[in-house]
Symmetry: D2
Subunit: 138 residues, 4 copies
C-alpha cells in the first residue's frame, strides 16, 4: 500500500535547508494547507539607524511565512513579488509573529496575506500581500 | 560664519549607527540629493531553501537604499511601505547593487524607485517602489 | 437635546454627489463602520479590446467601495493609492460586487481590503488593497 | 513577398475595438515598442464626491496606457495587476496624459511604469506600476 505524498513536505524540506531563516533566528511555529506561522525575535543587530526594527527584516519575516504558505500545496512555488505596509515600529527584544493565509489561488498564481504582530500586546506591526507562482512542470 | 546644514547628514548619521545594514555586510556606495546606491554580496547564510538569495533579503538591500535616499533631503523620513517584484534569482557570491532615485516628492510624501542589479552582468534582479513619509515637525 | 453626529454621514454625503459612480451605474448596497459594499453591472461600453471588463473599471468599482469604507469613520479621508490583482475576467452583463473592510487603522493612515466577486457564482474577480489618509484638521 | 508582422498590430487592433476607452473619451497619442501615451480629459461625470477626478478613472487611464504598451511586443498580454499612487488631484476640464514605458520584460512577465501628468502644467497626478503576463501559446 502506497500512501499519498504529504503536500506539506515541500515547505518542510525548504525550511530544513534554509540558511537565511535560520541565521535570522526564525522559528516555524505552524504549517497547514495554505497557511504558515513564523516567529522571530528582533535582535540588536536587526535595528536600523532610528533604533527600530529594519523594515526590510520585518518584511523578510513576513516573506518567509508567505513562502512556507505558498509551498504548502505540494507544488514548487516562488514569490514573484509582494507589497508591504509598515504600521508600527518593532524594537530590539520584541518577538514578532507572522501569520500567512491564502487569499486566492487560481491556476499557477496565488495571493497570500501575512499579518505581523508583536506577540506581547498583539499590535499589528506590518501587513504584507504576496504574489506567488508555481514553477513546476505539473 | 555659520554654514548651512548639509541635508545629506541625516542619511549619513543613520548609516553610521545602523547595525542591521552592517550585519548584512552592506556598503554605502553613493549618496546624493534623493539618490543612494548600496551594495551587498549574497552570503551562504542569505540563501533560502531553493539555494537562491532570500527574496526578503534582496528587498532589505533595496529598502536600505530607499531609506538612505528618502532621508537625503534633511528631514526625518520613514518608509510607510513598499512594493517589490523579483525578476531574477541571486546566488551565493553574487554582488548585488541597489540604486534608489526619487520618483516623486510632494509635501511629506515621497515615492522612490530602486533597481537591484547583479554587478557581474548587470542583469536586473528586482525592482522596488518605496513609499515614504516625513515625520519631523518642520 | 443634541444627538451625536453619525460618522456614516461623510460617506453618505459623498455618495449623494458622486457623478462618476452614478455614470458607471454603481449601487451602494451596504455601508457600515469601516465597511462598504458597492455593486456594478458590466455594460457593453465597459469592456476592453479583448471583450472582457476593463481592469481599470473593475478597479474603479473596488476603489469606490474602498472610498466609502475609509470615509465611514467621520473623517474626511482620501485614497493615497492602492494595489490590485486581477484573478478572473468579467464579461458584459456580469454583476460585480465589491466588499470593502478595514484591515488596519492607525492615526491618519488606514488599510482597506476589497474583494470583487461575480454575483452569479461567487468567483473572485479581483482583490484590491487600498491605502488611505485622513486629511481633516481634527 | 511577405512582410514580417508588425508587433504593434496587437495593440492597434485592441484599441480599435475597445469600447471602454472610447466611452471615456481616451485618445491614443503615441505607440511604440514597449511604450504608449494615452490622453483623457476629465469630464463632469468623472469626478467623485469631493469634486476631484475619481482615482479609479485616473488609474483606468494609466491602466489603458499600460495595456497598450505591454501588448506592443506582438504577444497577447494581460494585466495581472498594478499598484497606483495618487499624488495630485485632477479637476473637471483637466487634460491628463498617461505615458507608459517598459521597466522590465523577462519571459512572459513584464513590468511597466506609467506617469500621469496634467497637460496644462506638467504636474504629476499619479504613478502606476503594472504587472503583465503574456498568455499566448508562443
Amino acid at each position: 500500500m502506497v500512501s499519498a505524498p504529504d503536500p506539506l513536505e515541500t515547505s518542510r524540506r525548504m525550511w530544513a535547508v534554509d540558511p537565511a531563516s535560520r541565521s535570522l533566528g526564525m522559528e516555524l511555529v505552524d504549517l497547514g494547507a495554505g497557511t504558515a506561522t513564523v516567529a522571530m525575535t528582533v535582535r540588536d543587530d536587526m535595528v536600523n539607524g532610528y533604533a527600530i526594527a529594519h523594515g526590510g527584516l520585518v518584511a523578510t519575516l513576513a516573506d518567509t511565512a508567505f513562502a512556507m504558505a505558498c509551498n504548502s500545496r505540494g507544488r514548487t512555488t516562488v514569490a514573484s513579488g509582494f507589497d508591504v505596509t509598515f504600521l508600527e515600529a518593532g524594537r530590539a527584544g520584541d518577538r514578532l509573529v507572522a501569520r500567512a493565509r491564502e487569499t486566492a489561488l487560481r491556476g499557477r498564481s496565488g495571493l497570500y496575506d501575512v499579518t505581523v504582530t508583536r506577540e506581547a500586546d498583539g499590535v499589528v506591526v506590518a501587513e504584507l500581500r504576496g504574489r506567488s507562482r508555481a514553477v513546476d512542470r505539473a
